[in-house]
């Protein structure tokens, strides 16, 4: 499973996106905000915990979070740089 696939699976399962499958998430799609996946601040802090748990990479605050959580690609790059 590639990094992107792992991230999509984590997002669908740990953020309870019951109505879509991991494959349906586009690598460039905006994760937050009304267009795209529509995740919110509670999803953001959950994602911080899951990234630390699954990849051992710590996102210290929401400024770093905004950089990391642009899309699946930006998140994958953020993690790979710090692993």
């Amino acid at each position: 499973m590639t990094m992107n696939e792992r991230l999509k699976k984590i997002i669908v399962e740990d953020l309870f996106l019951e109505d879509i499958e991991p494959e349906e998430i586009d690598d460039e799609e905006a994760l937050f905000g009304d267009d795209g996946l529509g995740l919110d601040s509670l999803d953001a802090v959950e994602l911080v915990v899951q990234v630390q748990k699954h990849f051992g990479v710590e996102i210290k605050n929401m400024d770093e979070g905004r950089v990391a959580f642009g899309s699946i690609n930006t998140l994958a790059a953020f993690i790979e740089e710090r692993q």
Binding site: D40, S41, L42, V45, V48, V49, N61, M62
Partner: protein, 410 residues
């Protein structure tokens, strides 16, 4: 909303990290002293410790369990710390009101207490033993079933009357006082024991840290560098009394509950609505019910937790609705005591009205340009007969109390 006759507060007391009774707390507040430290009640694997406001006997360093034991007799050791805090505060407040068990007999006495942890079945030792497939000791469950804060107080004094434990997250203390006041105002009760209690616990410590709203240094309410809240523990109780009961023993009121407003943002589970819609309506209702306007208000004890969102929303609403009214947060002295905070802050508000001064907003040094209004940095004297104590809560509750000075002619 029908304006109400003010409800007399004839007794008040509280205990928290700032002091083991209300006068000790006010000494700490008026001398700008605070003592928070990393937790000693429990340990944690977080890489960095987060300061908390635990109750410890400041002098002897003994822990609350020893402190409370002398006030709460041995039989009560099978009840949880939150309810022991509630009982200690209730006994002190009744003493302050000059009421004892005999006075209460024959009276219609209600109990309304706010909590969060006090009603949660989250004993980690029990559960971790259970999930490993073993048979844990059932004592923690029995303790939980014996420890409903309002029921414990009602039981302890053998009272018969309405009894309610409010679990409205961080506004539970303010809401409990609002509900208790309506029982007096509607003639349901002669006396109401009301307030809030919450103990520090690992589960809420981990929960709030996971939400990334906890400051790793002592909290800085309304400051530009604020980075979150600190957790605390404590309890406060107010004794509310009907005019008839108060006059029968010619007891003077220390203060009055003049109005209570509450409204929801209906916006988000954990974030306050940016425009503060619920808080605005709760404030407007509280003022309308008390028959007061902004110009009557001497000061506001703000919720002021020190989180970026809460302080921004609150500053904006206070700027619009009470532009010339000074406000301060006392969370810098107590930490956020969750279900107890609304009651502890109401108790502080009573004393500030009596003492005609408000404490410094400890933790606030540099104004935040993004916030339209800033709190009073230093201790100030105040003039005026009315004050506001407000709470904003997870889930979008906003609750406001208007408290009036004791010397009011009703």
């Amino acid at each position: 909303m029908i304006p109400i006759r003010p409800v007399a507060i004839t007794g008040v007391d509280c205990l928290c990290a700032a002091g083991l009774n209300l006068s000790d707390c006010m000494d700490s507040l008026f001398s700008g002293r605070r003592n928070c430290s990393s937790p000693c009640l429990f340990s944690s694997t977080h890489p960095r410790p987060y300061p908390v406001f635990e109750i410890r006997d400041a002098i002897a360093g003994t822990n609350i369990n020893d402190l409370i034991n002398d006030r709460v007799n041995a039989r009560e050791h099978n009840i949880l710390r939150t309810s022991r805090l509630a009982l200690a505060a209730a006994r002190q407040a009744l003493e302050n009101a000059g009421l004892d068990r005999d006075n209460l007999k024959g009276k219609r006495v209600g109990v309304c207490m706010g909590t969060t942890v006090g009603s949660a079945m989250n004993n980690e030792a029990f559960y971790s033993h259970y999930r490993e497939g073993n048979h844990p000791d059932m004592m923690p469950i029995k303790q939980f079933l014996n420890s409903n804060p309002a029921a414990c107080i009602s039981n302890d004094f053998q009272l018969s009357g309405p009894c309610q434990t409010v679990v409205n997250a961080c506004s539970s203390g303010t809401d409990a006082i609002g509900v208790g006041a309506s029982w007096i105002q509607s003639g349901l009760c002669d006396v109401v024991i009301t307030g809030g209690a919450d103990e520090l616990c690992r589960v809420t410590y981990n929960g709030f840290i996971s939400l990334m709203i906890v400051d790793s240094s002592p909290c800085r309410p309304f400051d530009v560098n604020r980075a979150g809240l600190n957790l605390g523990e404590g309890a406060a109780v107010l004794i509310l009394e009907s005019e008839k009961s108060k006059r029968a023993r010619n007891k003077k009121a220390r203060a009055y509950v003049c109005g209570y407003g509450t409204a929801c943002d209906a916006y988000h589970l954990t974030a306050p609505k940016p425009d503060g819609d619920g808080l605005r309506r709760a404030l407007a209702d509280a003022l309308a019910i008390s028959g007061r306007t902004a110009s009557d208000i001497a000061f506001v004890n703000a919720h002021g937790t020190g989180t970026p969102d809460n302080d921004r929303v609150e500053s904006g609403v206070l700027h619009d609705m009470l532009p010339d009214v000074p406000f301060h947060s006392t969370k810098g002295y107590t930490g956020h005591t969750l279900g107890a905070s609304g009651a502890i802050e109401a108790a502080f508000t009573v004393v500030c009205l009596e003492a005609e001064k408000t404490p410094a907003n400890i933790g606030f040094t540099d104004p935040d340009p993004e916030l339209p209004s800033s709190p009073q940095q230093h201790m100030e004297s105040i003039k005026g007969d009315f004050a506001i104590s407000e709470s904003l809560a997870f889930g979008g509750n906003n609750s406001v109390l208007v408290i009036g000075k004791g010397a009011l002619r009703t």
